[in-house]
C-alpha cells in the first residue's frame, strides 16, 4: 500500500437493526484530497464518516477500514489503540459538539488532550505552548475575540469555527466534517467551508466533508463521492456530476432546488 493513502475502505457494511446503512462500500482516499460526500438523508454518509474514526463499528462479517496504512477496524472490531489514530483525525460535527458550559478556549484546549499525560489533561494543566497554539488557531479561524466566552453563548458559525480550531490544536492530519454547515446560515456556512478549503490548500490537510447542499460540494470539493442506499453511486470529479447523475442520486425533485446546471 502506498504511503500517501489516508484511508482505505474495503467492502464495508453496516447494519442498524434490519436497516443496511452501508452496503459493501470500497473507497480509497489519498492524502491531501478534499472530498465531498453527498447523498440523500439516510444514504449512509454520516455512518461512513464515523466509521473512519471508529465512532461507528462496522459489521463483523466482512470488510476492513485502514487509516494511515494501519488497520483501524477489521471484522467489526475497532483496534485497541484507536485513541492514537483519533488524535491524528479531527472530527467536525453538525451540532458542533462543543461543551456548552466551558469557554471556547477550554473547548479548543480539549484538542491537546491526546498528546498530554492523562493526569495533566485531567487537571487542565495546559502547557504554555499549547495555550499559544490554541489562541493562534482561534485567530486563524477568526474567533479569537470570543476565547473567554462560554461556547453556548456563541452563534452556530462561531462555534463551528471553534470546532475547527480544536482540530488545529489537535494537530490533525485529516479533518472529517459531518454536515458542518447544515445548521448554519449561508454567510456562516461559507466562512466554515472557506476555512476547511484553506486548511486543505495551505496545510495539505486531507478533508472529507458530508454535505446536504450539492452546490457547496461542487464549489469546494474537487472530488465527489455520492452514496445512495448505502452504496457508492458516483466517485469522480465534481465536474462530472451533471444533472442526470444528480437525478439518479436524489430523484427528479432535485430539479426544483438546483437552479443551474453545474456542468
Amino acid at each position: 500500500m502506498a504511503a500517501d493513502i489516508a484511508f482505505a475502505v474495503c467492502g464495508v457494511s453496516k447494519t442498524y437493526g434490519g436497516r443496511q446503512a452501508l452496503n459493501h462500500v470500497t473507497l480509497s482516499v489519498a492524502k491531501g484530497e478534499m472530498i465531498g460526500l453527498i447523498g440523500p438523508s439516510g444514504s449512509g454518509k454520516s455512518t461512513l464518516l464515523r466509521a473512519l474514526t471508529g465512532l461507528v463499528r462496522i459489521d463483523a462479517d466482512a470488510g476492513t477500514i485502514s487509516a494511515f496504512d494501519a488497520p483501524l477496524q477489521t471484522h467489526g472490531r475497532v483496534i485497541d489503540k484507536v485513541q492514537a489514530v483519533r488524535a491524528r483525525i479531527g472530527f467536525i460535527f453538525q451540532s458542533f459538539n462543543l461543551v456548552g458550559r466551558l469557554s471556547l478556549f477550554s473547548n479548543v484546549m480539549v484538542g491537546a488532550l491526546a498528546k498530554l499525560p492523562v493526569w495533566r489533561g485531567m487537571l487542565g494543566l495546559w502547557p504554555a505552548e499549547d495555550k499559544a497554539r490554541a489562541m493562534q488557531a482561534l485567530a486563524r479561524v477568526g474567533v479569537a475575540d470570543y476565547a473567554g466566552q462560554r461556547a453556548n453563548t456563541l452563534s452556530g458559525g462561531q462555534q463551528q469555527r471553534g470546532a475547527i480550531a480544536r482540530t488545529l490544536v489537535q494537530g490533525a492530519e485529516v479533518i472529517l466534517a459531518d454536515e458542518p454547515v447544515a445548521s448554519l446560515d449561508p454567510v456562516a456556512a461559507r466562512k466554515v467551508m472557506g476555512a476547511l478549503q484553506e486548511l486543505n490548500r495551505n496545510d495539505r490537510l486531507t478533508v472529507i466533508v458530508t454535505l446536504h447542499h450539492v452546490e457547496y460540494a461542487i464549489r469546494y470539493c474537487p472530488r465527489i463521492v455520492a452514496l445512495k442506499a448505502g452504496q457508492i453511486v458516483y466517485d469522480g470529479p465534481a465536474k462530472g456530476l451533471d444533472r442526470k447523475r444528480l437525478i439518479d442520486i436524489y430523484g427528479p425533485e432535485i430539479d426544483d432546488i438546483m437552479p443551474e446546471d453545474p456542468s
Binding site: 474514526t53 465512532l55 484507536v82 485513541q83 492514537a84 489514530v85 483519533r86 488524535a87 491524528r88 483525525i89 479531527g90 472530527f91 460535527f93 451540532s95 458542533f96 459538539n97 462543543l98 461543551v99 456548552g100 458550559r101 466551558l102 477550554s106 480539549v110 484538542g111 488532550l113 491526546a114 492523562v118 489533561g121 485531567m122 487542565g124 470546532a163 480544536r166 482540530t167 489537535q170
Partner: protein, 271 residues
C-alpha cells in the same frame, strides 16, 4: 412511504388518540394509588383526624408551655448548634466524595451493565439503612460522639447523592462527550471534560440541598448520642423543660433558615 389519498376531505382527519394499552396502564396506576390509600387509611389511624380540632384545648395547654422560651443557657445552645452544623458539613462533604465515583459508576451511559447494576444495589442498601442504625454501628466502632454522626450522614447521604448524580449523568447531551472522544482523549477525559461540565450545576444544587437537610438530620442524630443540639433537645424534652425546648427550637429554626439563605446565594452564583 405513506400514500396520501389525493382528495381527502379535511373533516375526515381524526385527531391522534392514545392507544388503549396506554390508557389502561394509566388507569391501573392511578386506580392502584387510590386502592393503596384506602387500604392504608385504618392502618395509620386516619380516623383520628377530627381529634386535632376537638382536642384543641388540650393542645393549647401543652403549647402554652412553649410560649416562654428560656434562653438563659443560650451560649450552650449556640455552641451545640454549631457542632451540629459541623457534623452536617463534614457528613455532606464525605458524602460528595463517596457519591462522585459511585454516581458515575451507577450511570447507564458511563458504566457497563455488569458494573452499573451492582453499584445501584449497593446505593439502595446505603439509602435503605436508616442513618440512626448506621450511627449505632459507628458508635460501636469508634465510640459515642460526633464522628459517629458524621459517618452516619456520609453513608446515607452518599447513597442518596450518588443516585441523584447518576440520574443527572444519564440525562446529559451525549454529543459534547463524543466531541471529546473524537480528539483521541482517554475515557477519564471524557468524564472530566465532557460530562462534569454538563452535570456541574445540577450536582452542586443537589449537594447544597442535601447539606440543608443534613443540618436537620444531624439534629436527630443527637438522639443516639452523636452530640450537638439534638442531644440538648432530647434531654430538655425528657425533663419537661418546655421553655428550654422552645428556645432550642428557635435556635434550630434560625440556623436552618440561615443555611437556606446561604445555599440560595451560593446556588445563584454557581448556576
Amino acid at each position: 412511504m405513506s400514500q396520501t389519498p389525493a382528495a381527502s376531505p379535511m373533516s375526515d382527519l381524526a385527531p391522534p388518540t392514545r392507544p388503549l394499552a396506554g390508557r389502561l396502564i394509566d388507569l391501573a396506576l392511578f386506580g392502584g394509588l387510590v386502592i393503596l390509600l384506602a387500604w392504608s387509611f385504618s392502618a395509620v389511624e386516619m380516623r383520628h383526624l377530627p381529634l386535632i380540632f376537638s382536642n384543641s384545648t388540650r393542645i393549647g395547654n401543652f403549647a402554652a408551655g412553649f410560649l416562654h422560651p428560656d434562653f438563659s443557657q443560650w451560649p450552650l445552645f449556640v455552641g451545640a448548634m454549631v457542632l451540629t452544623l459541623q457534623i452536617a458539613l463534614w457528613g455532606t462533604v464525605l458524602a460528595i466524595v463517596i457519591a462522585i465515583p459511585l454516581g458515575l459508576l451507577a450511570a447507564k451511559n458511563v458504566s457497563p451493565i455488569w458494573v452499573q447494576q451492582p453499584v445501584r444495589r449497593l446505593l439502595d442498601l446505603m439509602r435503605a439503612v436508616p442513618d440512626l442504625v448506621i450511627g449505632y454501628i459507628f458508635i460501636v466502632a469508634v465510640g459515642l460522639g460526633p464522628f459517629a454522626g458524621v459517618m452516619a450522614l456520609a453513608i446515607n447521604t452518599g447513597g442518596v447523592l450518588a443516585k441523584l448524580f447518576s440520574e443527572a449523568v444519564e440525562s446529559i447531551d451525549p454529543q459534547p462527550v463524543e466531541g471529546v472522544r473524537a480528539v483521541g482523549a482517554a475515557p477519564i477525559h471524557e468524564v472530566v471534560w465532557g460530562i462534569l461540565p454538563q452535570v456541574g450545576p445540577l450536582w452542586t444544587s443537589y449537594a447544597l440541598y442535601r447539606f440543608e437537610s443534613n443540618a436537620r438530620s444531624a439534629t436527630v442524630l443527637g438522639l443516639i448520642g452523636a452530640g450537638g443540639i439534638g442531644q440538648l433537645l432530647f434531654d430538655s424534652l425528657n425533663t419537661y423543660a418546655y421553655g428550654q425546648v422552645a428556645a432550642i427550637i428557635v435556635v434550630i429554626v434560625v440556623a436552618v433558615s440561615l443555611i437556606d439563605l446561604l445555599s440560595q446565594a451560593l446556588r445563584a452564583r454557581l448556576l
